[in-house]
Assembly symmetry: C2
Homo-oligomer: 95 residues x 2
């Protein structure tokens, strides 16, 4: 996953950090579209972020396309098999 404008990468930080990042992204660049990307356990956080932003802070947003996929991750230390990890992309649009 490479860096892209108007994309918020969801990881292990508290959910509200990402909620703030999404709101900031919409407001600072006056963009109409922000995409959340997450993999593995962070997928649940990504859905939480989309729902919280949408229901609590920016009621003019819509949840656009949601896509899921699989990525191959390098093996963990001490293992020798690549791991397959699920991914999600959630697009939020304004207007």
């Amino acid at each position: 996953m490479s860096k892209e404008p108007n994309t918020v990468y969801i990881g292990r930080k508290p959910t509200m950090n990402y909620v703030l990042a999404v709101i900031t992204s919409f407001n600072s660049s006056d963009t109409k579209k922000v995409t959340l990307k997450a993999r593995g356990r962070a997928i649940t956080t990504a859905v939480d972020v989309a729902e919280i932003v949408n229901n609590r802070f920016m009621k003019d947003l819509n949840v656009g396309e949601i896509t899921i996929g699989t990525e191959e991750m390098p093996p963990r230390e001490g293992e020798n098999r690549a791991r397959m990890v699920s991914t999600i992309e959630i697009t939020l649009t304004r207007g």
Copy 2:
């Protein structure tokens, strides 16, 4: 979430249990559509199930509509506030 035919509810069991349930559902009823439903931490498992069934076992499937939402859950013991929990529905179609 009430019981519906061709719906697989994803919970805390091992991922492969649900993979098997989806495959069985497609085969036993000869249906064209199975919906996965999950909430909270099980959302990640639901995405894993969809990806594993799709990539490894039934390559003629397509991931159809994915919707997310929020449900109010009763408070945990000792707490007095309802909890908001994110939900996901993933539709798999064959054909």
